[in-house]
Amino acid sequence: MVQLSINGKKITAEEGEALLKIARREGFVIPTLCYHEQLGSSGRCRLCVVEVHDSGRKRVVASCLYPAKEGIEVFTDSEEVRLVRRTVLELLLARNPSAELIQNLAKQHGVTEVRYTPDQDKGKCILCNLCVRCCKDIVGVSALGMSGKGPMKKVGPPFDEPAETCIGCGACVVICPTGHIVMEEENGVRTVWQKKFELATCPKCKRYHLPLFQLEWISKTRKIPMEELMVCEDCR
């Protein structure tokens, strides 16, 4: 265990635990966009930055990754922290003008004006990478990835074609914080990332539920008979 302080409050924490977790547990508010409890940190959005004084050195660090150390002083709302957060939010608002989540966060942090020409081509994607990590670490199929670099970086299936490995589960849609990823269902067909999936019809209630492809994948990987999976969750 180590002793540290956050905004002057003395705190005991496990050595190496991420500052974000400690701060949130202690009731401090730190905004995040790319952090997720199940998926961990990747340090992309830089919204969770805090100021750390460690052995006389002042740094602004991503609290989702910075490990607790003995004697450090943490400030969650210093001038530099506010500058970085406001800058990130203004930049994201210019990138994703239609994303309500960004609009709200920006307002909360006093960003009222955007000094840049808003992008029209990025949709609501903030490149937080949560969908990619979810698809890889939770679903386990890695149907999504990032391509390109710099301002051209984007998320999608390989070569922007329907991904062979995508099972149409829609986890990416659920985890996307801004609602960028669109999934549509029409006449028993689900479409996500340009791939079309035929939906299974429940033999009991006769309603469409999950994609057949997803059920087959679950049947294969979890060794559950298809007949069982064909019955929708409500009727099981």
Partner: protein, 617 residues
């Protein structure tokens, strides 16, 4: 087979005896610079001419790595620093090859091929007299241009591969202590104490441990690492053997960008030869220590020169950096303790071990020891590769080694530290070149790029150029760098086009600060440097663009016009002859006029006018 020291001496004597049998050795620089000027053709023509004239027993023709004076390539060196011939074969290969042969057969020095400084009459025979070489201290580059980089025996004959023997007699702590006390600092730009890094890697828990050589040099206008890898690959390998032994690592990787095919080829050959001599692999030099090196070819992303992005790339992932709150010496490549040094840093190590601490610490300044290789480019007369002792002033480098500014123009700034370095104005030219001084004036040592600019360079445009480079090279992982650099570029672009507002300057500084504090890696953190340093030293130029809507250097096309000052124009017609658009009209011997409708503001007329009769408006 493991070689002993005696074996190395035997190889050396045999090699020297072989070379001594020749009356003259001709070394043709076959670095990438000279090759593009036609060095391979010179080499082949020279070889066949020697054969044809029956001189094969008298003249030995050798291929070497970069000699440094790239501006005057192809370079051919006769004997050991006896005669330097430059621009060989530029006009007529056969004739120049003939001159080379005559130097030996008739003892006649070919006047036409000797080096002459720009605007001066004096010619130099030996390179040791040429100011470009005279001001240098070539330690790391001592064998560049001397040995054939594809022949390990040549390297051994010049003292190579002796340092590991000395190192193996020392303990790991002793070696690290030497490197620390020697004060060697990271040559890739960071300037971190190499010994301290080695110590941390050595003390780190976990195995295996890896050592890496960073040869991903990607700065525009820089070719220090490339020239070293091409010209003396064994020095890097030798340094890595010692580092591996000291740190306790059995595997090294050299990361080279694939745009450096010659470096990849020569390093691969060097590794193969070192393996065949038992210098790499199991039981290195019979010491019981196992160590091998592999090359990893990078895809050429600038960000992969950053340590964590480089490691990510070696792991087969996309080259994205990560926060280094846990240092790479503890968790680096594949989360194992990893020690990364620049190739130039590695190549320094054998010299420290061979020549001792007193010798090494006598070179350089108090805080920055040894030498540094720079690629000197831009508006200087002698562009090329130089190795100078730390502490030399920028003025000496630019005006003595570099031979001053081209033509009649005045020095304006020197950009050091690569795209994310800063622009240094005249007032700081007497500043000693070392890690701390350069940082104190808003620039940095970086890996050694040095771009000299004159009054025809617009500093706002220069900052815009570097920002564009960084925007494209940003990996896009973190928001401040991905979105911030491109928005900074947009503002700079606006200013260059005459649409800037005075508030933009404060906005740029604010955004710059946010990047410095908020970005993940060095690329983003230092990306604002070109902008911030030019605002700091060249505010007037920014204001001229923003307030007066003009570009004083006549570079930013949208806000530049050229006109002819009637009183000064003699009607020599030089400008109208050079104008690509035929936009200059007038009679001979009478003042000319520029037709603004046709003029594309390229500025050629301004550059060629002998009477300063063209005005930038």
């Amino acid at each position: 087979m493991a070689l002993s020291l005696e074996h190395l001496d035997t190889i050396t004597s045999a090699f020297n005896a072989r070379e001594k049998a020749f009356e003259k050795i001709m070394r043709v620089c076959c670095g990438t610079g000279c090759i593009t000027s036609g060095a391979n053709r010179v080499y082949e023509n020279l070889l066949s001419a020697v054969d044809r004239e029956g001189l094969s027993s008298r003249i030995l023709v050798k291929k070497t790595g970069c000699h440094g004076l790239c501006e005057r390539g192809p370079i051919v060196m006769l004997g050991k620093d006896e005669i330097l011939y430059q621009s060989v074969g530029k006009r007529d290969v056969a004739a120049d090859v003939n001159l080379l042969l005559k130097t030996v057969t008739e003892g006649k020095v070919a006047d036409a091929l000797l080096f002459k400084a720009a605007g001066k009459k004096e010619k130099y025979v030996s390179p040791l007299e040429i100011p470009f070489y005279k001001g240098q201290k070539r330690i790391v580059l001592s064998m560049n241009g001397v040995i054939n980089p594809e022949e390990i025996d040549d390297y051994i004959a010049h003292g190579g591969y002796r340092a590991p023997f000395r190192a193996f007699r020392m303990s790991s702590e002793e070696i690290i202590d030497w490197v620390t006390k020697g004060g060697l600092r990271g040559r890739g730009g960071g300037g971190f104490l190499t010994g301290r890094k080695w110590h941390s890697a050595s003390a780190a828990r976990g195995s295996p441990k890896y050592i890496l050589a960073n040869g991903d040099e990607g700065d525009p206008g820089a070719f220090m690492d490339r020239s070293l890898m091409e010209g003396n690959p064994h020095a890097i390998i030798e340094g890595m053997i010692i580092g591996g032994y000291a740190i306790g690592s059995n595997q090294g990787y050299i990361y080279v960008r694939d745009e450096y095919p010659l470096a990849v080829a020569r390093l691969s050959k060097a590794i193969e030869q070192a393996r065949s001599y038992g210098m790499l692999g199991q039981n290195v030099f019979g010491s019981g220590f196992n160590f091998d090196v592999e090359i990893y070819r990078g895809g050429g992303a600038f960000v992969c020169g950053e340590s964590t992005a480089l490691m990510s790339s070696v792991e087969g992932k996309s080259g994205e950096p990560r926060d280094k709150y846990v240092h790479t010496v503890e968790q680096g490549l594949w989360d194992k303790p990893t020690n990364l040094n620049n190739v130039e840093t590695w190549a320094n190590v054998p010299h420290i071990i061979n020549n001792g601490l007193d010798w090494y610490t006598s070179i350089g300044t108090k805080q920055s020891k040894g030498t540094k290789i720079f690629s000197l480019v831009g508006k200087v007369n002698n562009t090329g590769l130089i190795e100078v002792p730390m502490g030399i002033t920028l003025r000496e480098i630019i005006f003595e080694l570099g031979g001053g500014i081209r033509g009649k123009r005045q020095f304006k700034a020197v950009q050091t530290g690569g795209p994310s370095g800063g622009c240094i104005p005249e007032q700081h030219l007497d500043m000693p070149v070392d890690f701390d001084s350069l940082t104190s004036i808003g620039s940095m040592m970086g890996s050694g790029g040095m771009i000299v600019m004159d009054e025809r360079n617009c500093m706002v445009d220069v900052a815009r150029y570097f920002l564009r480079f960084l925007t494209e090279e940003s990996c896009g992982k973190c928001v401040p760098c991905r979105e911030g650099t491109r928005r900074m570029y947009e503002i700079m672009d606006r200013i260059c086009k005459g649409a800037g507002k005075i508030e933009d300057l404060m906005h740029l500084e604010e955004l710059g600060k946010a990047l410095q504090w908020g970005a993940i890696c060095g690329l983003g953190q230092s990306a604002p440097n070109p902008v911030l340093s030019t605002i700091r030293y060249f505010t007037d130029e920014y204001k001229a663009h923003i307030i007066e809507g003009r570009c004083p250097a006549g570079v930013c096309k949208e806000i530049t016009t050229f006109s002819i000052v009637e009183e000064k124009c003699t009607g020599c017609m030089r400008c109208s002859a050079e104008c690509p658009m035929g936009a200059i009209v007038g009679e001979k011997k009478k003042p000319q006029k520029i037709d603004d409708l046709r003029c594309i503001t390229c500025g050629i007329c301004y550059d060629v006018c002998p009477f300063d009769a063209i005005k930038i408006g």
